[in-house]
Symmetry: C2
Subunit: 275 residues, 2 copies
């Protein structure tokens, strides 16, 4: 007789798998843990797969063969993503969040654990197939969403800095042109942070001219790392020409300047979410 | 007849509850979602409670009465915490991570999704009972662990900056004395970020002299916010006198300087983990 009941095994497996997304667990590790036979475990996994499908809670993948096992992916389907980002974009539109100078206040959104978890999972869903070895962001505001993206992909997060720090050790520094202001800035990354030949997903909070994103691409070239994707929480409608291509954003920001009334923001979900 | 089987309901509930730690879900929301009776749902929750206890996966709390419901807490028990931090501390000790100037390389640890999730849950476990309204950190290196702590507590993360930024709006700036270097630094927080009368948990990566932590306390006083706890990933053994009291760290760092050999680091789990 099995030591644990099926509903005990399945709910515990759900938690263990979803705590470590995109990580392969061998069937035997679960058989040992729950003291049950492989055939029973396979049935458990089939049920788990159907549960996550039914309730829209991600995906269960099984890999057959000697190196096989089971893994969870924190995918968000296109409908869920479009609905979530649609609601978020609507809540950011209007005049409430406009700051002097025509900036949009986003700090609360960009550091909110649940909102950044959603955004990270939506981004990760698009990039599971290109298998990045790590996520790269540039300090500071993109760090939370870059962390949740890395978490969903099951890979480390690497953070580039504005200047080299003593506690980062020897570093590679590059200069880049800030796309919006045209000023020269520095970007620094510890030599220990990444290895040659790896591939990386760039994640950042904001894309305006694309100078910082271009700088991250240049930085990765210095490390012989292949950039396999670029994702942003928010891009500005203007300028329409960015210094980078082949990227995805979640939302598009258009600030409507007015001489007579207060400035207002129109935030819309990016077009690909509705395709 | 119920629409879903018990093992389907329980595993889906496990995922939904653990995705939103410390958030109360009403019984009726689950009854509606799974189209089942309250009595059945209560049995499901009892099973879930025993599963998380058996496998050390956190805690299920039920609140009775009209405003009642069920919630998940991502607690890590003392044994698990001591073992995890013990292994982590051992992996950080030695000469490999020592940088020129006697600094310890921690950037990879401090931005690793799984390691920061553990550390955040261990910290949250200690502070569930004081019910902070938000977590406060000072940019940059503590942001990931502050985010995972906030996530486990189900509260927002607020990030203080070194200087006020145009995209943060009007801000409160304070000057503070860096505990280790004695230099004067600035700390800035958007007025929109917090509300008077709230309570906050301070989380940061490193505690040496305590100047930055003291600065965060002073900053919160400006906002009439009550600091209900202070937690750090790593504190240095020296100086033993810090500018703050009543804090918890996960690990203690002692750098052993040597004229003849390479410097080396001794990292140990903090004493309270073994109490």
């Amino acid at each position: 007789m099995d030591k644990f009941r099926r509903n005990e095994r399945i709910s515990a497996m759900m938690k263990i798998l979803s705590d470590s997304p995109n990580q392969l667990f061998t069937l035997s590790s679960f058989c040992d843990r729950f003291q049950t036979a492989k055939s029973t475990m396979s049935e458990d996994i089939d049920i788990l797969r159907s549960v996550v499908e039914t309730f829209g809670l991600g995906e269960i993948h099984t890999v057959t063969g000697a190196a096989g096992g089971v893994m969870y992916r924190a995918t968000i389907n296109r409908d869920q993503a479009a609905r979530y980002i649609g609601n978020l974009a609507a809540s950011l539109s209007g005049t409430d969040r406009i700051l002097p100078g025509g900036f949009l206040y986003l700090s609360d959104i960009l550091s909110h654990p649940e909102i950044t978890r959603w955004m990270g999972q939506i981004i990760a869903t698009e990039y599971y197939s290109v298998r990045p070895d790590f996520v790269l962001t540039m300090e500071t505001k993109g760090i939370p969403v870059a962390l949740t993206t890395a978490g969903a992909l099951g890979v480390p997060l690497v953070i580039a800095r504005h200047s080299s720090k003593v506690y980062e050790g020897s570093a590679v520094n590059i200069n880049y042109v800030s796309g919006s202001s045209g000023s020269i800035q520095t970007m620094s990354l510890s030599r220990r942070a990444v290895q040659e030949g790896q591939s990386c997903l760039v994640v950042d909070d904001f894309l305006k001219g694309g100078g910082t994103a271009k700088g991250m691409e240049d930085l990765m070239r210095e490390f012989n790392v292949n950039v396999v994707g670029k994702a942003f929480v928010m891009e500005t409608k203007s300028p329409s020409h960015k210094r980078i291509s082949d990227y995805k954003s979640l939302m598009v920001l258009d600030i409507n300047h007015s001489d007579s009334d207060a400035d207002s923001a129109t935030v819309t979900p990016s077009a690909w979410l509705h395709s």
